[in-house]
């Protein structure tokens, strides 16, 4: 039986959280279906936005922690 690719499958795959077998199945589904491909691209777009913000640690915080060690 062919397993359908769900949105949560795409999410797991986008975060490298799907198993090896599932990853292969999901990639084939993405390659073979333009609608799934579009959904996957939309997920990646949101992930890239989240990626764009990397908060910095205050040097004072790091100094205090390292002194405490």
């Amino acid at each position: 039986m062919i397993k359908r690719t769900t949105q949560t499958d795409l999410l797991s795959y986008a975060y490298n959280d799907a198993g090896l077998c599932d990853s292969d199945r999901i990639q084939r589904a993405i390659d073979g279906d333009p609608i799934i491909m579009e959904d996957f691209k939309e997920i990646i777009k949101v992930i890239e936005i989240l990626d764009s913000a990397k908060p910095e640690i205050s040097p004072e915080s790091m100094n205090r922690i390292l002194k405490f060690c």
Partner: protein, 195 residues
């Protein structure tokens, strides 16, 4: 010379407990960003983030010294649980006591300037942080929590499920709805941070 950066967490903990200070520095270095980002996006105040971040590592260090760390567990989920509990405790206390921090509105001026970044780069950095923080704040807390733990703390969905004591499908479902909501917001606002 021992190559600390090649050692796994469990061995670094063991070394620190035998008195090797560099081992704890390596562990801190390995996970500081993920723990800091998690706290940063869960709370709405930079000063509070720094306080909770320091408190988290002080608790971690004290627990390691007292040998309270369970070697069978993984270090990062354990450390994040400490941070998460401190955040939740803070929110609980906040309900009972007057607020110690200004939580009303996050301001881009809360973000500390970074060394070596010029004014223009700093402004872009602040805007990105502000935008993402605003995006996450539009999500229900349960969804926001899963997004932060998956994206910034880099926990697997299985680890998130264990940490929050929920089913893995619930974790995936929350993330899915969060992505849908953020996608909708981004599409509506027609914002493209990559441009």
């Amino acid at each position: 010379m021992t190559k600390l950066h090649l050692m796994d967490d469990k061995d670094l903990v063991g070394l620190y407990q035998k008195g090797n200070q560099e081992a704890i520095s390596e562990l801190i270095d390995r996970y500081k960003q993920r723990i800091h980002s998690t706290i940063f996006f869960l709370v709405k105040n930079t000063e509070l983030t720094e306080d909770l971040f320091q408190e988290t590592f002080i608790k971690i260090i004290l627990s390691l010294r007292k040998k309270h760390y369970n070697e069978q567990g993984k270090f990062l989920p354990w450390a994040l649980r400490i941070a998460h509990n401190l955040v939740i405790d803070y929110f609980r206390k906040q309900k009972l006591m007057p607020m110690q921090y200004d939580m009303e509105e996050f301001s881009i001026f809360d973000i500390m300037p970074s060394n070596g970044r010029n004014a223009s780069d700093q402004m872009i950095y602040n805007e990105k942080i502000d935008y993402v923080r605003g995006l996450l704040d539009k999500l229900p807390f349960e969804q926001k929590e899963v997004v932060i733990l998956r994206h910034y703390a880099e926990l697997s969905f299985k680890e998130i499920a264990q940490m929050l004591d929920i089913n893995i499908n619930t974790a995936l479902g929350r993330m899915h709805y969060a992505i849908l909501k953020m996608r909708e917001i981004v599409q509506n606002e027609k914002v493209n941070l990559k441009e």
